[in-house]
């Protein structure tokens, strides 16, 4: 076949070109499917690993003692595995974070979606995105070495290691995420609804609070729940600034290890593979996974329902 002429289809079939292309297309399709299926494999592997190592743990520690015990002393001679101290610290810091992120996030989202001029929005949104990218260990540094010494001048009895400051920092940390998800939800409310409000003589703030917020309610709730899930699973801020000492307390001025901080502490100590201390990090990891999974499922459900509404 001379180079200058265009091959006919009969020649192409004969030379095996068509068959080769068909096999390549088929092979690539399988490869792409495997890439996509990897996500299913990862989810399965996470559940498998967490359950397998927790299984041995719960063979030694009754589930009831684990969930309702108030002492967490994994490396003592007579170890106790009551997860409540870790759980209480986790929920306290996440709650503090939400106390910051919910009001501020809502106000910022309303401002961005309803009041800000497009030029302002186009500047602030990328800035928020940049802030989302700040490594969490840097926020840990802020909490321990900047905010805590600063707040010690105002809050009497605030210890150098405490739950209050990491909670506040966590709130600031998830703020960009909460703002961008709830702002998306508000912007998705159709303009015809807003215009209906203006037609009835409503002012902008009335449209915002009586039409946009109720209209975007499930989307906004989803943003808060997904933010909460992030706060619960956040690690480095707490490992740095909330301390590594399991401590069942409701006083946020004191330090207490969270679930994530405990996992970090054990990993740093290089625990022996197969020991009960090793298994315990998988048991608390499983608990953390279940909690965040619940939040995520509720969040995704609300978000999806919201998308279907418009």
């Amino acid at each position: 076949m001379p180079n200058s002429s265009i091959p006919t289809s009969a020649e192409l079939i004969q030379s095996g070109f068509v068959r080769r292309r068909k096999w390549i297309a088929r092979g690539m399709k399988t490869f792409l499917f495997l890439c996509a299926a990897l996500s299913v494999f990862v989810t399965t592997a996470i559940v498998f690993v967490l359950v397998r190592d927790s299984w041995d743990f719960f063979a030694n520690v009754p589930l009831f003692d684990f969930l309702f015990g108030t002492m967490w002393t994994p490396v003592f001679a007579n170890p106790q595995f009551g997860v409540l101290p870790l759980l209480a610290a986790t929920l306290q810091t996440a709650g503090l974070a939400m106390a910051i992120a919910v009001p501020f996030g809502l106000i910022m989202a309303i401002y961005l979606s309803e009041y800000a001029r497009p030029a302002v929005r186009e500047t602030i949104k990328p800035a928020l995105e940049m802030l989302e990218a700040v490594p969490t260990v840097v926020y840990g540094y802020f909490a321990l070495l900047v905010m805590t010494p600063f707040l010690q001048g105002f809050v009497p009895g605030l210890k150098g290691i405490n739950l209050l400051v990491p909670g506040i920092i966590l709130g600031i940390m998830i703020l960009p995420y909460v703002v961008s998800v709830s702002e998306d939800a508000m912007r998705a409310v159709p303009n015809s609804l807003r215009e209906g409000g203006y037609g009835l003589g409503m002012a902008k703030w009335q449209v915002a609070t009586r039409i946009v917020i109720p209209g975007a309610f499930s989307g906004i709730t989803a943003a808060f729940i997904l933010g909460m899930s992030r706060a619960v699973g956040e690690t480095m801020v707490l490992a740095v600034a909330a301390g590594q000492n399991p401590n069942l307390t409701w006083d946020p001025r004191e330090g207490a290890a969270t679930i994530t901080a405990y996992i970090v502490q054990m990993s740093l100590g290089d625990v022996a593979h197969g020991s009960i201390a090793y298994q315990s990090i998988f048991a608390v990891g499983l608990l953390l996974f279940v909690i965040t999974l619940l939040f995520n499922i509720i969040g995704f459900y609300l978000r999806r329902r919201f998308r279907e509404a418009y």
Binding site: C35, M108, P135, W205, L268
Partner: protein
């Protein structure tokens, strides 16, 4: 009083109340707008102040010696050589794995998958994985890669872990990029007799290149700051050596021995220094933080710039 005057009077009062209501509403509007602006400015100022404080404390510590020294027990001699080399090598593995797999999964979900329970299931999985805390990925890697596959606490394992972690981010942005490509490009190629893979390889992937790049950069910028999963798989905090160089003097010139080496990364180095009591180490931690923030900000800046350019491109 005649009925007409009564009507005019009541009209005047209604007018007055209406005016008052409008004025009040307008005042409240201004209050709302200023309130929003103040909260926004407050949050931004706080964050900028924190970052500024970090830069002021840390920037002077960054010099040639800091970048070319190993960590040390003496704070004034400590540097981040092994940390940034470790970060670089781990990112290499992560990018090498996450980008092709992310493109593959994104293309499959967007172009190949038929709407059905399977593609739905995979989609739910991807969005769920995006919400799994990073430390859980660390536990997965510890149980599966380190002990299950006996790969040890190596650069390879860290790269694999972070690749899994950023995969959902990469997939989402690749899907968005693919979705934005006009149908006409695809249909033209099919019309000329191209098969599905030829269309993907010659048209869809090139057209989606800016989106793919953005997704990859944003994913890597997240990976570079991740600390928790790397601690969990047991990265060391004190490393005073470098892994073997990937390029060697003799044949075959490329060595993969570094994949199986112990390592540390920038965020772990920073964590280690933050946790020490001496103030001199805190300065070193601040300096490492400055390096980290500079890295993530410039990566994200590039991504935002590409997206901006892309939007301009569509407009023309």
């Amino acid at each position: 009083m005649s009925t007409t005057t009564q009507g005019a009077l009541s009209a005047a009062t209604t007018n007055q109340t209406a005016f008052d209501a409008v004025r009040k509403a307008k005042q409240k509007d201004i209050l709302f707008a200023t309130g929003g602006l103040v909260v926004m400015a407050l949050a931004m100022t706080l964050l900028l102040a924190l970052i500024g404080d970090l830069v002021i404390r840390g920037a002077t510590r960054i010099d040639y010696g800091f970048l070319t020294s190993y960590p040390s027990r003496l704070p004034e001699r400590a540097g981040i050589l092994s940390a940034w080399v470790g970060s670089l090598l781990v990112m290499l593995v992560t990018a090498f794995l996450a980008i092709p797999i992310g493109i593959g999964a994104g293309l499959y979900l967007e172009e190949y998958a038929r709407k059905g329970w399977l593609s739905n299931f995979i989609e739910i999985n991807v969005s769920n994985l995006a919400g799994v805390p990073s430390i859980i990925y660390g536990l997965l890697a510890l149980g599966l890669f380190v002990y299950g596959f006996s790969l040890g606490k190596t650069i390879l394992v860290a790269g694999m872990t972070l690749a899994l972690l950023i995969l959902p981010i990469v997939i989402v942005s690749i899907r968005e990029a693919v979705r934005a490509i006009p149908r006409i490009i695809k249909e033209g190629a099919y019309g000329l007799g191209a098969d599905q893979w030829q269309v993907m390889w010659s048209y869809i992937i090139p057209a989606a290149r800016p989106g793919i790049l953005t997704g990859a950069i944003v994913g890597l910028s997240r990976a570079i700051g991740e600390t928790a999963p790397i601690i969990t798989i047991g990265a060391l905090t004190f490393i005073a050596f470098l892994p073997p160089a990937p390029v060697t003097g003799e044949f075959p010139f490329i060595s993969f021995a570094w994949l199986n080496d112990g390592f540390t990364v920038l965020p772990i180095q920073m964590f280690n220094w933050v946790s020490r009591p001496q103030a001199e180490f805190h300065v070193a931690a601040a300096a490492t933080g400055v390096v980290l923030i500079a890295l993530t900000f410039s990566l994200n800046g590039i991504a935002i710039w590409i997206r901006y350019r892309l939007r301009q491109g569509y407009r023309n």
